[in-house]
Every structure is written in C-alpha cells, then in structure tokens.
C-alpha cells in the first residue's frame, strides 16, 4: 500500500481525494522504496478514465452545484468576525472602516475579504469620474498617502451626436472638484490600505455559496471547489473549497452579484424595501494611449444620441486620464427592444464618429472590458439587511444615474454598514439599523433628487431630455411624484420578427476591432477544464425560444462572444457556450428573455485582468 505522509493535518475527516492523504485512493502494489510518480499522472484522479483505480460512488454525472455532490467529507472552516464578499470600493471601504473603528475604540475584530479576481482590482472596471466625497470621509489623508487620484477634471463637454455632427449642449454635470481616475488602480490602493490596517484579503477565492445555520441565518460563505474537470470529475489538483464563517457577512459583489441576487430572492428584500425591480445598462470600455498632442488631462466628454436610436437609452464617455491615456466607452441600457442590437458593435461604430475618431487616430488600445451597471436608482433599492448580514455597494444598487457615478455612494454604503456592524458585534445595535443609516445619509438625499431622470426616458429620448432639463434647472427633485420604471430589461425585448437585422460595419483593425482581438486585451482567462459556470435552467430553451423567437440575442449582447450558435452535423444550430471568454459582466443573467441563463461564479482567479480600467 502506497502510504503518503499527511503533512497537513485537519481536524475534520479525511479528505478522500486530497492530494496529501492518499491512503484510500491508491491501489495496492508491491511497495518498492522508490517513489513512482507515474501513479500520479494526469489520470490518477479522473476516475472515469483510470480503470485500475476503484471508482467512487457517482462520478459520471455533472454535479448540480460546484461542490462535488458525493463529498460527505467536511470542508475546512475558518472563522472571522466579519466576512466581506468582494474587494471592490464598497467591500474595501467597509473593511477599512471596521478596522478604523477597532483602532479607535480599542476593540479587535477579524475581517476577511474574499475576492474572485486573481488580484484586487482585476475585476474592477468603471468610467471613471470620481467624486471624492466618501473617500474624504474614509481616508482624509488620501492625497498624502499617494492615492492614484491625480487628474482633476479640467473640462466638461456634452454633445448630442448625429451621424455626422456633434452638437454641443450645456453640460448637465458639475464635475468641478472631481477627478478622472482608473477605478482598478484606486481599488488596488484601497486594498493596500486595508491590509495595512489588518484586513485579510484573499484574491483568487470565489464565494460560491451562502452558509446558513439551523435558523436560516447567514453564517458565512463557502468558496468554490477547485480542480473539477468539465465532465464533473475531480482532477489531479482537486481542492475542496473552504467555509469562511462570519458573525456578520457583507455582500459587496457589485452589480447583479450572484449571491446577492439569491439572498434578495430568498428573503424577499425587494418587496420588503418597497422597491421596484432593478434596471441595468451594459457598459463597454477601452483604455487607449493616444497621441500626446490630442491629450488633455482631465478633459471629460459625454455624448448622447448616435449611434443609439431614440428608443434605446444610453450614451458614451471619453475621459482623459494621465500618461496620455484615455478611457472611452459606450453605455447601453439593457431594456432595449430590438433584439438585433449588439452593444459591442454599437461601441465600435461610435468610435468612427467624426468628432470622436480624431482623438483615437494614431493611438493604441491598451485594455478592453465590459460590465453591467445599475440604472434603477432610488426606486430599486432593496431592503439591504438579511439575517446575519447586509448587502452593500452596487449589489444593492446606489448608482446615481444622471451623475453617472456610483463609486462614492458604494463606498459610503460600505462605511455605513461597517459602522452598524461594529455596533452589532458589540451588542449595542441591530443590523436593521443599516436601513436607517442609509436613509439618513447623503446617499438617500442624492438618489432621491436624482430619481426621475432615468424613468423619464421610458417615454422616449426627447421627452426624457426635456424632463431632464426641467429637473436640472427647475425642479431639482422637488416634486411629489416618483416615476416608475417600465418593464424589466429581459421582458422588454421584442420578438425578432418586429425588427430587421442590423448591418454593422466590419472592424477596420485601427479604430474598431473584432471581439477576439478585444477579448485578448482584457487579459481574460479561465481554467478551461472546468464545468461551464453559465448554467441553463432549461437546456432546451435556447433552441426552442431564444433562437426562433428572439434571433439569439445572447449572441449579440454578450461582449465576450460566450454564446454562439453553431451548426451541428445535422445542420441544426446549437448553442455553444465558450465560458472561458466570460468577462463576468452579468449581461446574460439580466437580459436573457426567459431568464434561463444563470451566471454562477467560476473557479477563483479566473476572469478578466483589468489593471487600468
């Protein structure tokens, strides 16, 4: 019997397939003193292939969840006072605030942040014109501490685009005092600040499930099992996930967070908060290094109109950062009706506009990425507290749509949650106080004033603009009515027969590019041999509904070309999911007409690698 010394001793039961304690899985053989590595070749742990090893109970089926279903083996469990899911602006602000309170009051709380990206900042992408209001409260010495915030806004332009012209309009934004930044860089800096204060941050670990106790209270999260092959079997390097338990769990997964959506469903948080459904937009962005003669640090440009039609809400942004870099992108609201719309191609088209292309000519693209963002604003804020924790940041949804800023409110929401959490762990407060804290804060005030801008566009572009003007110059949110959102984004898609296909121009390779080229620039990667993380609730729906009725919108709105319909040997089009391309934008989870696509979190460490986005 081949015996291996177990170096890592656990308090829980033997991990049958753990690499280190192989006593159960090895075959009997005459045992030479030599160590034969051939036993541990690729096939050693994919039992479905290796005939001489005893096959365990059930291996051939694809497990329904990411934790290997037959494992009765317990996972390792680590306990903290507070567990934060997501190392973004909200999550890190909450963690930092908690540690600050600990230092102030002489308390000691252990805070752990788990992050699915390979590094802090790898999954962070945003415009971004940053309002430092929350950061001034959190880390007032940010300038001295060399936060990567050094390009103040120098000009604010607002254009209405037609196919060939750009009509200057008075800018509705007041960006004086704000900065053009890379949010990925700022979050990385926040991460170092958090670690300095004693926060433990673990990138590369994806929180894939919520842990509950016997009373249905949330007691933490479980991370993904790693090393599962596409067919569900365990690979050589299989590693069971761990349970990260917290007395309080804060979900900060960003827009359309997978665990947050589950929690909101389970505890009916939207109803509880009297909220409408959330509405979303898809933002597609590139960072370019341009000709320095064309570069004006701090220049901010926003456009409306072309290439989007009057029924489709959205607009573009072009921000000049430092080092001759600019951020350029297009945001398309996901309640668009024409299923043939391809937001990625609209963005590529946009870059050719005569007012835009001069900036880009002679430049090179450095990075590409995409992410959905919340547009529901005030009307869609759910009750953010659940037994055992709270939802913070964009997972709840505090983005100020007319300002197009959500970072400052996300950070503030994290800070407020931290303050209440501190009280809860010292047994003087109830987590429900977080709801009160939000409503008494400037987040509420700001979002309330901004509440009617976006819903007005339900009536079309011109009425929307007219109301925006009215709001901005006259009413400023001081009216008794609150407009409602229209249909949910996925319900807004019309049947394909009501529209005709859109012919998008071919990429020229200089200003516009094809998806594979862009995807390469996002530094996206996933371990390819893993079960696809995009799950179809009903595997027949793509071919019976999406394709015939809606002309396969997922093959058009996905900015990573994950969904492709490919003809099989009978010449029938079948859905092919290239999960490895996924940018974690969540557009499919939002826009699929039958809500058939469920975005679940893949193995930690995969996904895009944003550094200047």
């Amino acid at each position: 019997m081949l015996k291996l010394r177990s170096v890592f001793s656990k308090s829980k039961s033997n991990n049958l397939f753990h690499l280190r304690s192989l006593t159960k899985s090895s075959t009997s053989q005459s045992s030479p003193p030599a160590y034969d590595f051939s036993r541990y070749s690729q096939n050693a742990f994919s039992f479905s292939k290796h005939s001489s090893l005893p096959a365990p109970a059930s291996i051939s089926r694809v497990p329904p969840s990411r934790s290997f279903a037959t494992d009765s083996e317990a996972r390792d469990s680590i306990e903290y006072d507070v567990v934060v899911v997501g190392a973004g602006p909200a999550g890190l602000s909450a963690a930092i605030r908690l540690k600050q309170l600990c230092h102030q009051k002489g308390a000691d709380l252990s805070v752990c942040v788990v992050e699915k990206g390979a590094e802090v900042g790898a999954h962070i992408i945003s415009g971004n014109v940053f309002e430092p209001r929350a950061l001034d409260e959190l880390l007032p010495q940010w300038k001295q501490e060399e936060a990567p915030i050094n390009t103040p806004v120098s000009s604010d332009k607002f254009w209405f685009l037609t196919k060939n012209r750009a009509i200057s309009l008075p800018s509705p934004f007041h960006n004086k005092g704000n900065y053009v930044i890379s949010l990925s860089q700022l979050v990385r800096w926040l991460g170092t600040k958090a670690e300095e204060l004693g926060v433990e941050i673990y990138p590369g670990f994806a929180a894939s499930e919520i842990l509950y106790d016997a009373n249905n209270k949330v007691i933490g999260i479980g991370t993904n099992d790693m090393g599962i092959a596409k067919d569900g079997s365990k690979k050589e390097n299989f590693q069971r996930g761990v349970e990260v338990k917290g007395r309080i769990t804060l979900l900060a997964e960003g827009c359309r967070g997978s665990l947050s959506e589950k929690i909101m469903g389970k505890y009916n948080l939207r109803e509880k908060g009297g909220a409408q459904h959330q509405t979303y937009a898809l933002g597609i962005k590139e960072v370019w290094e341009i000709d320095e003669k064309k570069h004006q640090p701090g220049e901010v440009v926003h456009t409306l109109g072309w290439p989007l039609d009057h029924k489709t809400y959205g607009g573009s942004f072009l921000y000049h950062m430092k080092d001759n870099q600019i951020s350029i992108g297009l945001v398309v609201a996901l309640n668009y009706q024409n299923p043939f719309i391809n937001p990625y191609e609209e963005f590529q088209k946009f870059k050719h506009h005569p007012a835009i292309r001069p900036y880009l000519e002679g430049g090179t693209v450095i990075q590409y990425g995409a992410r959905t963002l919340n547009e529901g604003g005030f009307q869609s804020i759910p009750y953010p507290v659940f037994p055992g924790g709270a939802i913070i940041g964009c997972s709840a949804g505090f983005l100020n749509v007319p300002k197009i800023k959500g970072t400052h409110t996300a950070m503030k929401s994290g800070m407020l949650a931290a303050e209440v959490t501190f009280g809860v762990l010292n047994e003087v407060l109830d987590m429900d106080m977080y709801w009160n804290a939000l409503r008494n804060s400037w987040i509420w005030d700001e979002l309330y004033k901004a509440r009617n801008y976006r819903p007005a566009f339900e009536y079309g572009l011109i009425p929307g603009l007219a109301l925006s003007g009215l709001e901005h110059y006259l009413l400023r949110g001081k009216h008794p009515f609150t407009l409602k959102h229209g249909k949910a984004d996925h319900e807004a898609t019309n049947a394909a027969q009501l529209h005709s296909p859109i012919q998008y121009p071919k990429a020229d390779g200089v200003l516009s590019f094809d998806v594979p080229t862009s995807l390469h620039r996002s530094n996206t990667n996933h371990e390819h041999d893993q079960p696809p993380h995009l799950r179809l609730r009903d595997p027949k729906i793509p071919e019976t509904v999406n394709l015939p009725v809606y002309a396969a919108p997922e093959s058009r709105y996905c900015p990573a070309r994950v969904y492709e319909y490919v003809a099989d040997e009978h010449n029938q089009l079948k859905l092919h999911i290239n999960a490895q391309n996924c940018l974690h934008c969540k557009a499919c989870d939002i826009k699929d007409p039958k809500q058939n696509i469920e975005w679940t979190v893949p193995e930690g460490g995969g996904g895009p690698g944003y550094s200047v986005m």
Partner: protein, 251 residues
Amino acid sequence: MKIMVAIKRVIDYAVKIRVKPDKTGVVTQNVKMSMNPFCEIALEEALRIRESGLASEVVAVTMGPSQCLDTLRTGLAMGADRGIHVESTSALHPLHVAKILRNLVENEKPSLIILGKQAIDDDCNQTGQMVAGLLNWPQGTFASKVVLDKEKEEVTVDREVDDGIETVQLNLPAVITTDLRLNQPRYATLPNIMKAKSKPIKKFTPQELNVEIKPDLEIVEVTEPPKRKAGVMVSSVDELIHKLKNEAKVI
C-alpha cells in the same frame, strides 16, 4: 534530504503584453505578475517528493525586487517549508542567477535542485544547465517524469527531447528542470495561504553571496513581431513560380 526549488516572478501568461514606446523592453507597470508556470511545476514535483517521505524539506528561492516576496509567499502557500529571497533591483540574467544558486547551495546543501525549464518572459532555458555546470552536478532537463531512489541516491528522469523520450539516470546531488507534462500543480488553499504568512523567509543580497551583478548582456532593442501579412491567392503555377522567384526571392 533537502530539495531547493528556484522560482521566478514573471508577467502572468494570460496578460497581453505591450512593447514600451522607447523599445527598451516590455511594459511591466500595472501588469499582473505570477509565478512562472514551469516553476510551479518544479515546486509541485518537490512537494510530491517530500510528501512521499523521500525528502524532509523543500526550500523555495526567488531573486529580484521586493515584490518577489508575493511569489515566494505563493510558493510557501503551496507547501514549501522555507523561503529565501535574494533581493536585487537590477536585472538578473541566467548566469547571475546560476552563480547565486551555486553559492546558496554551499550553505544549504540540498541533494536536488529543481527549476522550471525556462521562464516565460525571456525563454532563455539556460539557468538550470548553468547551475549544473557551475556545481559540476549531473542534470536532467525537460523532465516529464522523475523517479527518485533515495537508497541508491539516484534519480531517473524521463526527458522530452526532439525525437521522443530519453531516460537518464543521475547520481545525487543533481539538477532537474521541469517540462509541462511532468505534473499539474496544486492550488494554494486558503488555510495554507494563512499558514504561509508565518513561514520563515531569509533575505540575502547578491553581495552577501559574493556574486557581482555585472550586466554582461545589453538589450539593444525590443520590437513587436511584424504584423502578419495577408496571403495572396495565385491563379496559376506559373504565377506562383514567378512570385517565388522575383518577389520572395527564394528560388
């Protein structure tokens, strides 16, 4: 028996690299760095040997600026017992690394040094061979299988060579460099990452190890490979011959 593993911090393999505008190198600012994949395989092999009971300690060595500590901690999280960081801000070429490793070996006295066959940033494929040369130790490079016989103090290495697999038997102490198919490295688990924080890391400078970092190579220029030109369809064999003769000038 002690095993020393050399690991290198390189640009992550999934990153799209860009050449710096001044053509002196590749942009490394704000770019994700990771452990060289072949070094991961080397470390994995060392860990498996230790887990089989044939070695007592795995020491991970890395060289470079202070950020290399991240890579070293990842190595410790995978399971290495101790780390050594040779700190240097100047560029280290394979010969420097080999000399430093040789001098470290005099202190540590491992029976086996395992390295990745090459680093994915420079693709040199030299360090392992140079270390073996400097130490006068046998080497088994491009290893796709490693079998250690502790009693006979031998290691049998299957090497991936151009015409197939070559098996060599080396007396210990020896140098092995790993190729892709040797093993599949393990993931560092959360508990192990936490444990790694308290594992000891010893710091050295090249001067302390009596190695002078004198650049003996100068990088003159770094450029992107030329863009692939579109193919041309020819209409006849004669046209093909004409083009091969007059345009491509290969016949």
